[in-house]
Symmetry: C2
Subunit: 217 residues, 2 copies
Amino acid sequence: MNISTKVMGRLARYRALLTDYFPKEKTHIFSHDLAAMMGLSASQIRRDLMCLGYFGVPRYGYEISELVKHINNVLDASKLHHVAVVGAGNLGRALMTFLESRRATLKIVAAFDDDPDKANRVLNGVPCFHMDLVEEVVKRDDIRIAILCVPGAVAQRVTDLLVKSGVKGILNFAPVPIRIPVGVVLEEIDLTSALERVAFFTNNRANAPKEKRHADR
Amino acid sequence: MNISTKVMGRLARYRALLTDYFPKEKTHIFSHDLAAMMGLSASQIRRDLMCLGYFGVPRYGYEISELVKHINNVLDASKLHHVAVVGAGNLGRALMTFLESRRATLKIVAAFDDDPDKANRVLNGVPCFHMDLVEEVVKRDDIRIAILCVPGAVAQRVTDLLVKSGVKGILNFAPVPIRIPVGVVLEEIDLTSALERVAFFTNNRANAPKEKRHADR
DNA sequence: GAAACGATGTGAAATCTTTCACATCACAAG
DNA sequence: CTTGTGATGTGAAAGATTTCACATCGTTTC
Ligand SMILES: NC(=O)c1ccc[n+]([C@@H]2O[C@H](COP(=O)([O-])OP(=O)(O)OC[C@H]3O[C@@H](n4cnc5c(N)ncnc54)[C@H](O)[C@@H]3O)[C@@H](O)[C@H]2O)c1
Ligand SMILES: NC(=O)c1ccc[n+]([C@@H]2O[C@H](COP(=O)([O-])OP(=O)(O)OC[C@H]3O[C@@H](n4cnc5c(N)ncnc54)[C@H](O)[C@@H]3O)[C@@H](O)[C@H]2O)c1
């Protein structure tokens, strides 16, 4: 079964909803309830769940604990990933605090910055190193993933260093596209253009994307 | 011409690249150069640019200043939007600082928080009000767009208040899906699931989305 | 000016994603 | 046991996005 990026992302969100924001006393859920909560169609939910190898029972819906277990399974949630935040500025530090309390399998083990004032300290619960030590620490701590929060002007240079040091996945917040060799995974988050999208569709209703449906009939 | 969300987002990123990170001495650009920089195919670039009503010239490519002008035009960049940050915590304050220096047409005019310590002060250059004043200030300052940075548990409640007050677009960072009435535009940014996507494809090469192409032949 | 070149613009094909529609199933009720 | 109900799982249609392929055109060169 080949899971697309989109399905993958939605599965992660289903899981977050079910584990973090769902009343504990509920043991089962219907596709259309999940759909209403997510703002998607019920058939899309069912289609997504097909690739889990877990099947709900008609009339009862999906058993939540089983569903979560199977999502974990498909998303490889047993593997622990070591993550580094690169660039311990405002955004980087906010992310450190935020992610600390989140999925146990994604552990932030280090931060890097080229500002000497930030190195050799513990920032927001994370040991922060100078950029000179990237290669050494990445190898020593088996860091596979980097969250890139450095200014756009140096983003490509820092990326090249990270890749050279052995990082296999990068989540880029710098508002510039960066290039990576094949074999490395890249996800870009461009907050400015997200905000611009909202602004555009806000006063341009005609072009707005089709309404999200909340049911299936 | 009907512009999809995806095209819209890419146009914003082309513009950012051309205005912020492109050598000033260059006056023209080819679709395949832009493509290489963005990590997309040249034909996709050309297809996206088709909806601008501006045409490049064969052999010379696109004139950058004209291109930017036409993107501005399509994205309605002349209109000034008033934006509020709701929830002046770590993320909210990082965003205030960051967005201040960005597009002039998206102006952060207020922040809101229910912590009395944060109200009635200027935080990161933005006046911060208590949540009790949302309705009044949104109307007074004609705030159309809200950036939602409150804890997930209260996100829906705060959203309802914002919509009631007249906000027309919401950029949601809380890691829960929120529901809005039709007529309001919503964009969700889920950093946790973005990070999980990176982690997944990092040790699951087989399922990785197709390589981005950098050329057209 | 004519020919060659090397880029664009775009119809059509290919691919990816979502939705529809309905057979099927497990349980509840009679 | 039989029937009715209201879910699921899924083939196939519809829709959206991306890529291919090539006609076309402005520039350069001869
Ligand atoms: N703050 C936000 O809300 C926000 C939102 C979206 C995107 N971004 C982007 O994220 C990045 C960081 O934003 P920020 O607000 O945290 O900025 P910031 O200035 O607060 O932090 C940048 C950090 O990077 C460090 N740095 C600079 N050069 C470096 C180098 N060569 N190697 C290592 N570290 C280096 C600096 O010392 C600083 O600590 C920027 O690219 C910004 O555009 C920020
Ligand atoms: N920090 C991050 O990097 C990050 C990343 C992704 C998502 N998020 C999400 O963004 C939101 C904010 O994150 P944060 O790190 O800034 O948290 P934070 O705790 O630093 O800030 C939350 C702010 O919201 C305010 N608040 C609480 N209840 C409120 C209410 N009812 N009305 C108005 N304001 C209220 C608090 O006073 C606080 O200032 C959370 O939902 C978080 O999950 C944060």
